[in-house]
């Protein structure tokens, strides 16, 4: 069984925001709701790196654990979805989420009144009939059910953002990493493996 994941390659992400507008375009996401955004660190200095972030569809998702109405769930493909009809807009999932993925639109908007939670669906719609009008209005398009992957990744300008079965993404990323042939100068290496290696350099 496929296990759906996003993977963002920081060596390639150029902060072009293509993923952000692709998402807006595909789901007609209203102004102020950002299912996906690009985060940059060390802006403007050497070491600048960007990363596109949305719901990470965690395997052990904290939002599911904390939801008081128990409407967030994991599909068999590993996508974290929720039922807006049962959402009470409490924001608990937002506190729990390490990535700030849950969004709370104010007032009557395309994705529900009363500030129901809205977030990235991995372009997999929600608990309504596939491709139904209700599904689109509440959750956006269901690309997964059309045999397609999230548009943000499919349209990524440098193919930094990848989406799909985790094992297949690993293969793509491994091939790149091998070609780069980088060791400790790869971004994130020192954080992961410590300072002593830098000194050994």
């Amino acid at each position: 069984m496929a296990r759906m994941k996003f993977l963002c390659d920081a060596e390639r992400c150029i902060e072009c925001n293509g993923c952000v507008t692709a998402c807006k375009n595909e789901h007609e996401v209203p102004w102020g709701v950002n299912r996906r955004r690009v985060v940059t660190i060390n802006d403007g200095v050497p070491g600048e790196r960007s990363m596109s972030v949305a719901c990470m569809h965690c395997s052990d998702a904290p939002c599911i654990a904390v939801c008081p109405t128990n409407v967030i769930y994991h599909t068999a493909e590993g996508v974290v979805l929720h039922d807006k009809d049962g959402c009470i807009g409490c924001g608990y999932c937002f506190y729990a989420c390490p990535f700030g993925a849950p969004q709370f639109p104010n007032g009557p908007a395309a994705f529900g009144a009363r500030g129901k939670m809205d977030k990235c669906t991995f372009c997999a719609g929600g608990p309504e009939e596939n491709h139904s009008e209700a599904e689109f209005e509440k959750y956006g398009r269901n690309r997964l059910a059309q045999g397609k992957l999230p548009l943000c990744a499919e349209m990524c300008s440098t193919k930094a953002l990848l989406a799909g079965d985790a094992a297949e993404l690993s293969d793509i990323f491994r091939e790149r990493a091998l070609r780069r042939g980088k060791g400790f100068e790869a971004w994130g290496w020192m954080t992961a493996y410590g300072k002593d290696k830098e000194e050994a350099k």
Binding site: I14, N17, V20, K24, N25, E48, S132, A134, G140, R176
Partner: protein, 972 residues
């Protein structure tokens, strides 16, 4: 709330929307439709969208087979188009249902973008919403825009322009065309304005890459990117100077980062630590406007260490000795003093380029928009010639153009100094085009005020304001000042000296703006005028069809996605309507079929216009790209190799994608296009070539032709040779290889004017020879003010000491019809850096494009950049006493003041202030909202940097100086 699916329409908004929609008409209807467009994964969508490699085989998916007006009820059709923002040429599959553009899908098959998009490309579907567009013709009455009918608009505008033409001559009207036009529209515009009787026309290329086009063409023949984005994957080192590709051409980074991943070294030299620099292996910070000393500094090390390619230089380069003399004056200490780059950095970069060949260079506005722009670009060409990198896959000068069709509009569009195809304005050029157009040369001559004005270059878009404001006695045209300006797809805030521009707008008799988003011009004009301004709604490129030439010279055919929204009309239709009003409609479309649109207007058919371009544009090989061949390419994208761009099998077998020009001969010759210019390793019929013999065969007793052994593969004469004409063909004994009909057409003509294409065919197909000859590239361009590029300080320089050492040019009295200041102004402002100590420079943001009215009207983009800002170094911010996020005033020596947010960052060095150039809609601290036509103001408005930019122009092309001027900053 929602329990059952059929309870869904309980949404209050929609219950309201439906009845309202019936009354409000189309706009509301479309919005409501878009909201519901989630359904409909009908069989049609799947057939076309799912197995992407099958597109073209399924009926509904076949773009050619699809009707032009949407499918039946609920049926979805896919139309293949191309992004209209930058020059990468990213393909888009537009999904249309009931005539509404409901979705946008990636085209993984495209060899150019492989489905990838940046923020702009991923949001082009918003054009189908278009809520901030101009919806109908409008007219300024008592300082307010009022709706008028198309009929009234054409009549009133036409009468006003005809009256001015009558009173002051045709040269009193200035036409600003567009790099956003398709090739067909741009070409028709050149023809249209010619028939109006003036060369006073121009478009964005003037202020974008005019110095590149002139400098590069004068070096080796053609003024274009030599290789392609894709070919950069073959490079082993890449130097970006004055290019922020990560923001300006984001999808190019797909190829660039791929190359980097496979071992290429990436170097960025820029005054800013750009997002491109963040991806580079090596970055050096240069003082803005000192490119030539830096390049000479690199060449100094190359010559010192013997890294030059001596054999290549001997065979293929003319005049390098003189360059070498100048280069050796630039010792490392001098280079450091002027550029701020240390010797070891310059050495490292030079060594990297010299030892990792093929190496390529990339430049953009950072090199071109200077008073020494033509010198900057020629210095880059020389660097590549010295390293033997030109005409080599993985090498070349990869000049990234700006707009989606700026290359095409430069090639065949409204240029003040040339007819389509760089034919120039000589009588012979006019006669050539009159034959193609099927009109009488004498008639065209009669349309002009005089034969002299017919053959004299017009005023440039960078200077139209001086055409209005200058003393009429000093303007080099008999009619004197410009009285009317037509902005046809061009932003006003992209030209410098905005403060003077409003004065010019005030003085005009008539201002006409034809644009989907005319609002920047409209608001500036309404700020200073009460009447005499007309706004006409043009359709976007998604509402018509035609071709666009990407930066790599590939042409792509865009299908019409939707019918024009609101009352807008495609540009070619508007041109034809005005031609009728002006009385030359029949001449304009002599060879071009007219088709009726839904409202009964006549539209010149884009296919036919392209065929006319094919029949006439021999110089640069726009002759082989027939609409049929291009459409076939669009449907068979998957058959093209991504690295070479060549089709391997399939219906386009052997062709390069989009038939990158030159694609010589008529379409029947089946020339495959030229992926990399001047590449001698390929046969000319396989896209090979060599440098062009365009500057005579000898200069001062020295031959300009290439040395033996340097001709392209398979050429019968492996030596230098001149360009082909009837005489040469006879001398070589090849004349009889022409058919009788070809002989008749070719007699007394050369390869550029032989409409039969016979000379070209015989030279290329039969003998493997290049029609434009085989010469050396010129390191020494003797016809330019600086034959060897010289460093000259910007007019507004922060270094008075260096102004004395490296002064600018002498003033020019008659230059593109206008007096132009250099030295007198530089002397006058020599010490102005005491008052204005910071360098002011400008550039792009990824979310916006050009003047930005279009992209700032797109909510998906506008949300990402909501305010105009200035990047200021922490040191300068602390000195001036403001913090990150404060409003500040940026004031330039023109005294114009910009109120912007401070972004305090080390991205810029102390002493440099960077401002993005996409904003407009604020005027020196004031929101101009009240001056906009109702409902057509963009979502995000801000100060235009060019309100404050200063005087300064390139000495060859009149390119404006935007990248180096001065300013001071203070807390607002």
């Amino acid at each position: 709330m929602l329990i059952k699916k059929n309870a869904a329409p309980g949404n209050a908004f929609r219950q309201l929307a439906s009845p309202v929609a019936r009354h409000l008409g189309e706009t509301m209807d479309r919005r409501a439709f878009l909201r519901r467009s989630g359904l409909g994964a009908g069989a049609g969508v799947l057939a076309t969208q799912l197995p992407y490699n099958l597109i073209g085989s399924a009926d509904a998916a076949s773009p050619a087979a699809a009707p032009a007006t949407g499918g039946g009820e609920g049926e979805e059709v896919v139309r293949r188009t191309v992004c209209t923002h930058c020059s990468v040429g990213c393909a888009i599959d537009a999904v249309v249902r009931n005539g509404v553009w409901v979705r946008q899908e990636p085209v993984f098959d495209s060899p150019l973008n492989l489905g990838a998009h940046c923020a702009k490309g991923a949001s082009v579907r918003e054009h189908g919403h278009g809520e901030h567009r101009l919806k109908y013709p409008m007219k300024l009455v008592d300082g307010k825009y009022q709706k008028i009918s198309w009929e009234q608009a054409i009549n009133e505008v036409g009468d006003r322009l005809l009256k001015i033409r009558e009173e002051s001559g045709p040269d009193a009207v200035y036409w600003i065309g567009s790099s956003k036009h398709s090739n067909e529209q741009a070409y028709l515009m050149r023809k249209f304005v010619s028939f109006f009787g003036t060369n006073n026309m121009d478009h964005q290329a003037r202020i974008c890459h005019s110095t590149t086009v002139a400098g590069v063409a004068n070096t080796w023949g053609y003024g274009a990117m030599t290789n392609s984005y894709n070919d950069m994957q073959n490079a082993r080192a890449m130097l970006f100077i004055g290019s922020n590709a990560a923001e300006a051409h984001p999808v190019s980074l797909l190829h660039i980062l791929h190359a980097k991943e496979t071992g290429a070294k990436m170097i960025v030299v820029d005054p800013r630590f750009t997002r491109t620099a963040a991806k580079a292996d090596y970055y050096a910070r240069i003082r803005s406007g000192t490119d030539i000393p830096f390049i000479w500094g690199m060449l100094y090390h190359i010559f010192e260490n013997g890294w030059e390619d001596r054999e290549y230089i001997r065979q293929r380069v003319y005049g390098l000795d003189k360059v070498r003399e100048e280069v050796m004056k630039w010792t490392p200490d001098k280079v450091q003093e002027v550029t701020g780059i240390a010797e070891e950095q310059v050495y490292t970069i030079a060594e990297t380029l010299a030892k990792n060949k093929p190496s390529t260079v990339v430049w953009c506005m950072g090199q071109t928009q200077h008073t020494v722009g033509n010198g900057n670009v020629r210095a880059m060409c020389i660097l590549q010639l010295v390293l033997g990198n030109v005409g080599v896959s993985g090498g070349g000068t990869n000049i990234f153009r700006g707009h989606d069709n700026v290359q095409g509009a430069t090639d065949v569009g409204p240029n003040p100094d040339s007819l389509p195809g760089y034919y120039g304005l000589a009588a012979g050029s006019w006669q050539h085009w009159c034959r193609v157009w099927g009109v009488d040369y004498e008639w065209v001559k009669g349309r002009y005020a005089s034969e002299e004005l017919m053959t004299k270059s017009g005023i440039t878009v960078s200077r139209w304001i001086d055409g209005v404001l200058e003393n009429p006695a000093d303007i080099d045209q008999p009619g004197g000042n410009l009285r009317a300006v037509v902005y046809w797809g061009h932003a006003p805030n992209s030209q410098t000296r905005g403060a003077e521009m409003v004065e010019a707008m005030k003085k005009l008799d008539t201002l006409v703006v034809i644009d989907p988003y005319p609002s920047a011009t409209a608001s500036m004009a309404a700020m200073v005028r009460k009447d005499g301004v007309y706004l006409l709604p043009a359709a976007t490129q998604f509402e018509t069809s035609g071709t666009a030439t990407a930066s790599n010279r590939s042409l792509q055919w865009r299908e019409k996605v939707i019918e024009p929204l609101f009352e807008s009309k495609p540009d070619q239709t508007i041109m034809y309507a005005f031609a009728k009003k002006f009385g030359f409609a029949d001449e304009l479309v002599k060879n071009i079929k007219l088709v009726k649109d839904k409202q009964g207007w006549d539209e010149p058919e884009p296919e036919d216009i392209l065929r006319e371009i094919n029949r006439g544009t021999w110089t640069i090989g726009y002759t082989g790209q027939s609409p049929e061949r291009l459409k076939l390419h669009m449907q068979n994208m998957h058959t093209f190799d991504v690295k070479t761009l060549r089709a391997n099998g399939g219906p386009c077998d052997g062709d390069y994608f989009g038939l990158p020009w030159p694609c010589y001969g008529n379409p029947e010759l089946k020339h495959p296009g030229t992926p990399n210019l001047y590449d001698t390793s390929k046969h000319v019929m396989e896209g090979g070539g060599n440098f062009r013999a365009n500057f005579g065969v000898e200069k001062d007793g020295v031959s300009l032709l290439a040395e033996d052994g340097s001709a392209s593969k398979g050429a019968e004469l492996q030596m230098g040779y001149p360009e082909f004409d009837d005489v040469l063909l006879k001398k070589l004994g090849w004349w009889d290889e022409l058919s009788d009909a070809e002989k008749a057409a070719a007699e007394g003509r050369n390869w550029k004017t032989d409409l039969s294409g016979g000379i070209m065919r015989v030279a290329m197909q039969n003998h493997g020879m290049h029609p434009f000859g085989n010469a050396k590239a010129r390191a020494l361009v003797w016809n330019f003010p600086d034959p060897v590029p010289l460093h000259r300080e910007p007019i507004y320089s922060p270094r008075p000491d260096l102004v004395d050492k490296y002064p600018t040019h002498e003033d020019k009295m008659k230059f593109w019809r206008l007096p132009t200041l250099y030295k007198t102004l530089q002397d006058k402002v020599r010490d102005i850096s005491k008052e204005y100590p910071l360098i002011m420079t400008s550039g792009r943001l990824v979310e916006y494009e050009g003047g930005g009215e279009e992209t700032r009207s797109n909510p998906w983009l506008a949300e990402l950049q909501q305010e105009m800002f200035a990047e200021v170094n922490p040191k300068d911010a602390n000195d001036a006493g403001f913090r990150n996020g404060d409003y500040i005033w940026v004031e330039s020596p023109t005294k114009a003041k910009l109120k912007v947010r401070a972004q305090v960052t080390q991205r810029v060095a102390p002493g440099t202030v960077f401002l993005p150039f996409h904003f407009s809609g604020w005027w020196q601290g004031r929101d101009m909202l009240e001056y906009y036509p109702e409902g057509a103001a963009p979502i995000v408005r801000g100060e235009a940097v060019n309100t404050a930019t200063t005087y300064g122009y390139d000495s060859v092309t009149m390119m404006q100086e935007t990248k180096t001027t001065l300013c001071r900053v203070a807390k607002a």
